[in-house]
């Protein structure tokens, strides 16, 4: 028989635990299942009965890599339910905190998780033996992102300073300005990262993706905006669930999303944001993207590394702008309304890995009655499987070991966060 099964039991250098199971029969790929065996943690269940003010701290614990994203999307949702708006310097501080998370998370993925693939090395520690300068600089850049989060959020993992309506305490101008010289260093390091990633040799492959990202009239969207795709979606966040839906693939402890119409896949994250918001890049980010010849819409998923690097430049530039224009606001948060009859609120923001949607139903007593959370990795899962199916069908001549490596590399393009999707990959290729 020519049938075979290939199994990756534990995909490494991703966040969380998952496996991949592939069945190949008579030279055709039958099944590609990304199996997420990360233990379920039931956030949406135990959020019921908690006070709405607790959601930012509780949902941050879904993911230690992108806690700020959870805090921002949950705050957006609660503020939407309460009918309050966070604007001006408080909004700018939120964007600064989020820039910190991007500046930490993108270099983590580029250098520590993905770059070793391009040198056929197992990890960044080995990479540091070959190229100590690059790894040292990467860690320096990542650290500056963490410095922003530590100053503004109290700590880099599960910051403590975010609350519905704003912050517990806003920093003084002087405190923020201490970051300024380090951000100049970060800008140079981030630009160097763009040049470095642009010189790597990428596999030649392109897909006709539907990219979905937020779009904001004034900025490269991060905190909020309209949901826009390159194939005609243009909706406010309140229409998210009318347009996209989640279903539970029985082989995984996570939920996958599709577009309701046609049940097709879509792709969120840096490639999508860049395709939709390229005109909103900050000046140096736009300039360096041009300098390295980055195409206006990147359809090669491996080249996402370059896009992450460009976004890092953007985040550093924006952090500098926010700090320079900062004036400490009189109040650190917007008060919730004195009377609240309860209601539903939804919120979305751009986690480093893509859009993160939250919806809550809150009672008049302020307790959460229902919670729904859709993380970026759940939204990308179907598209990841399609990329893998295509890769495998074109690579049937490879040995199991080669194919396993190729699949793992493809999965890392998505920087999947399985903790978020509850959610890790284990590769299992069956050739029947």
């Amino acid at each position: 028989m020519t049938d075979r099964t290939i199994a990756i039991d534990y995909i490494t250098r991703v966040e969380g635990e998952g496996a991949l199971h592939v069945t190949i029969k008579d030279k055709t790929v039958k099944d590609v299942e990304l199996r997420i065996f990360e233990a379920p943690r039931f956030f949406e269940a135990f959020l019921r009965g908690r006070m709405y003010t607790e959601a930012p701290d509780i949902t941050a614990r879904i993911c230690g890599i992108c806690p700020v994203a959870y805090q921002m999307s949950s705050c957006n949702a609660m503020e939407n339910a309460l009918g309050i708006k966070v604007d001006g310097q408080l909004r700018a501080l939120r964007r600064l905190l989020y820039c910190g998370e991007w500046i930490e998370s993108h270099p983590l993925h580029i250098y520590l998780l993905q770059a070793p693939d391009f040198f056929a090395l197992p990890d960044a520690i080995q990479l540091a033996k070959v190229n100590p300068e690059a790894v040292t600089k990467a860690l320096q850049l990542k650290k500056i992102g963490n410095d922003i989060m530590t100053l503004l959020g109290g700590r880099e993992i599960h910051p403590i300073n975010v609350r519905v309506g704003g912050f517990y305490r806003t920093p003084t101008k002087e405190e923020l300005m201490t970051l300024r010289p380090r951000l100049d260093t970060a800008l140079a390091l981030a630009e160097e990262t763009v040049r470095l990633t642009a010189t790597l040799k990428y596999p030649k492959v392109e897909h006709d993706y539907e990219f979905v990202a937020l779009r904001h009239p004034d900025e490269y969207a991060m905190l909020d905006g309209e949901i826009v795709s390159n194939k005609g979606v243009k909706i406010p966040v309140t229409k998210y669930e009318d347009t996209f839906e989640e279903y539970h693939a029985p082989y995984a402890n996570a939920l996958q999303s599709v577009k309701k119409a046609g049940r097709t896949s879509y792709f969120v994250g840096p490639l999508a944001r860049y395709a939709i918001n390229r005109d909103k890049l900050t000046p140096r980010a736009a300039k360096i993207a041009k300098e390295v010849g980055l195409e206006p819409v990147v359809l090669n998923p491996y080249r996402g590394m370059i896009v992450r690097a460009v976004e890092t430049v953007m985040a550093v530039e924006d952090a500098i702008r926010i700090i320079e224009q900062y004036k400490q606001p009189e109040k650190s948060f917007v008060e919730p309304p004195s009377k609240f009859a309860g209601g539903v609120g939804c919120g979305i923001s751009e986690a480093p890995r893509g859009i993160l949607y939250h919806r809550y139903r809150i009672g008049a007593d302020g307790l959460i009655q229902e919670a729904k959370i859709t993380p970026p990795t759940a939204q990308n899962q179907k598209r990841m499987e399609e990329d893998l199916r295509d890769l495998i069908s074109k690579s049937l001549d490879m040995t199991d070991a080669q194919l396993t490596t190729a699949c793992e590399n493809s999965i890392r393009n998505y920087d999947p966060c399985i903790s978020c999707a509850t959610h890790f990959l284990k590769l299992n290729i069956t050739r029947e």
Binding site: G16, A45, F46, R61
Partner: protein, 262 residues
């Protein structure tokens, strides 16, 4: 020179944040990697070598039948097991399911609850196997992690304070948020380690490092009630990231004594 100690980093039910703390030691990461032989750390490396391990860092809580078995195997292969973080030391936020009906939870989240394998409880590592050292916190302090690892390398006792957040907060010179602003604060009953962060940012401590050795939870609950917190609200503050730590569990049960602890 003696061989470098072999390190394994293991994940159970968790957010990955505590193991990320290792990668967040940007200034020390390459030194740590030089002093130890990292043989299994799947979030960071594809190079996986078999045990036994000199040191195992275990993140996360035990929530599935497979994990009950896996932690036993890790223990059998490890000279020292260090449980890191609130999930590994107290069952974590997912330990809230210990007070609920898990079938109901499965139905609330998944369309195919029947395929989701989970135990009715989320338990700490020490409830499953013998643990040699615990680092508390949600997340852990990376400085405490570096202290624990270097103490083992130099064969000395780790310096991990067990005083309350309150003591550290006083030393920092913060205005007490309870006395000064009437803000409920878990600092008097919570173990230090975070740097008294929340009160330094004008908010009350929310107990993410779990109970200190001898916490007077009855007294603080009385004070919370005097500040206008309802019994249900007092119960909630003890039932967060360390809900199954004994002292916090008892305090939550005592907050609403009329209701049977479910």
């Amino acid at each position: 020179m003696a061989a470098k100690p072999k390190l394994g980093v293991w994940k159970f039910a968790s957010c990955d944040g505590c193991q990320l703390s290792i990668l967040d030691c940007e200034d020390e990461l390459l030194a740590v990697a030089g002093a130890l032989d990292i043989v299994d750390f799947r979030e960071a490396t594809s190079a996986i070598a078999p045990g036994p391990y000199d040191i195992s860092l275990v993140e996360g809580s035990v929530t599935t039948p497979e994990d009950q078995q896996r932690i036993k195997e890790i223990r059998a292969q490890s000279k020292l097991v260090i449980a890191i973080g609130a999930c590994a030391t107290a069952g974590g936020i997912q330990g809230l399911k210990n007070f609920a009906d898990v079938e109901d939870y499965k139905k609330a989240v998944y369309q195919h609850p029947e395929v989701v394998k989970t135990l009715t409880t989320s338990t700490s590592i020490k409830e499953n196997v013998t643990v040699d050292l615990e680092l508390k916190g949600c997340p852990i302090s990376k400085y405490q992690l570096l202290e624990a690892v270097s103490s083992l390398l130099y064969k000395r006792a780790p310096n991990l304070p067990t005083e309350t957040v309150c003591v550290e907060c006083k030393r920092k010179g913060n205005v007490c948020v309870m006395v000064g602003y009437g803000t409920p604060c878990m600092g008097p009953v919570t173990q230090t380690g975070c740097g008294a962060l929340c009160p330094s940012y004008n908010r009350g401590c929310y107990g993410c490092f779990g109970p200190q050795d001898t916490p007077n939870t009855a007294s603080i609950s009385k004070d919370f009630a005097a500040k206008g917190m309802t019994p249900a609200a007092i119960k909630r503050v003890f039932r967060t990231f360390n809900a199954n730590a004994l002292e916090f569990k008892a305090a939550a049960d005592a907050a609403e004594p009329g209701r049977a602890p479910k």
